[in-house]
């Protein structure tokens, strides 16, 4: 259930990240908190990733229509 809701909410953002070579994954922490992780792919554009405050804003908005809220975002190590 949670997977379907979150997959749906985050689908277009997975595509957005993929455009710059990043993979978006998530895990649920507790009942309704979501940890989003951005993982750099082999061809990731190192300079193209938005800064953390922007990423947090994007992910918070993405989760707004769901029963979940953003806990935090894990960015690639170089960010």
């Amino acid at each position: 259930m949670a997977d379907a809701v979150l997959d749906g909410a985050l689908e277009k953002f997975r595509e957005l990240m993929a455009t710059d070579g990043y993979e978006l994954t998530y895990s649920v922490a507790g009942e309704d908190r979501v940890v989003v992780e951005i993982v750099a792919g082999a061809d990731a554009c190192a300079d193209c990733l938005v800064p953390l405050p922007i990423m947090e804003s994007i992910m918070s908005d993405a989760l707004a229509p769901t029963p979940y809220t953003l806990d935090h975002v894990v960015m690639p190590a170089e960010h």
Binding site: D47, V50, M55, I58
Partner: protein, 179 residues
């Protein structure tokens, strides 16, 4: 010994960033100086030149001056921003075709508007979300920026001209002028 350096905030956000009022729009573009703020992404200069040329042909706009940022992923630095504001009446800034540069392009437009210069920020439609998030973080969630159909970087001159033609009605609308 190195002096103290100021850390660069990639969001461009600072204590001044609370104004969500657009700069006053000109009655006409006739004779006005157009700033073209290039973020160094492929085809940014070509797209900017095409738009500026069209503003000159359609609206009688004056000189178009090209400025180049030193890095696409962060908002324009203060000294270049001041130069652009001092020298231009309206500014077009492009092109956001990745996550960070789309956000920075929108931030550039907001910074210019807050300093009284009407600005058109252009990103590719794949990165509308990044631009909108930057506008929200900047305290200007309703800031209107334009989306060119993705991609932009890989296009030839004719295709860039097509993108320009598709954008022109919105460029004119955001600048508040009729052709």
């Amino acid at each position: 010994m190195a002096g103290r350096e100021k850390l660069l905030d990639p969001t461009g956000f600072d204590d001044r960033a609370t104004d969500s009022t657009l700069a006053p729009r000109p009655a006409s573009l006739r004779g006005l100086t157009i700033g073209m703020l290039d973020n160094t992404k492929p085809n940014a200069v070509l797209l900017l030149q095409e738009i500026a040329g069209e503003l000159q042909r359609r609206c009688g706009a004056g000189e178009a001056i090209l400025y180049t940022k030193d890095y696409f992923g962060t908002p324009v630095k203060e000294d270049l921003l001041k130069q652009v504001v001092d020298e231009c009446d309206v500014v077009i800034t492009a092109v956001g075709d990745c996550g960070s540069c789309s956000a920075a392009t929108v931030a550039d437009g907001i910074l210019l508007e807050r300093l009284g210069v009407p600005a058109v920020s252009i990103v590719s439609d794949s990165f509308l979300v990044s631009g909108a998030a930057m506008a929200k973080v900047q305290g200007f969630p309703g800031f209107e920026f334009l989306a060119a159909r993705h991609p932009v970087a890989s296009l030839d001159e004719d295709e860039i001209r097509d993108r320009m033609q598709a954008l022109m009605p919105e460029v004119l609308r955001v600048l508040g002028v009729e052709s």
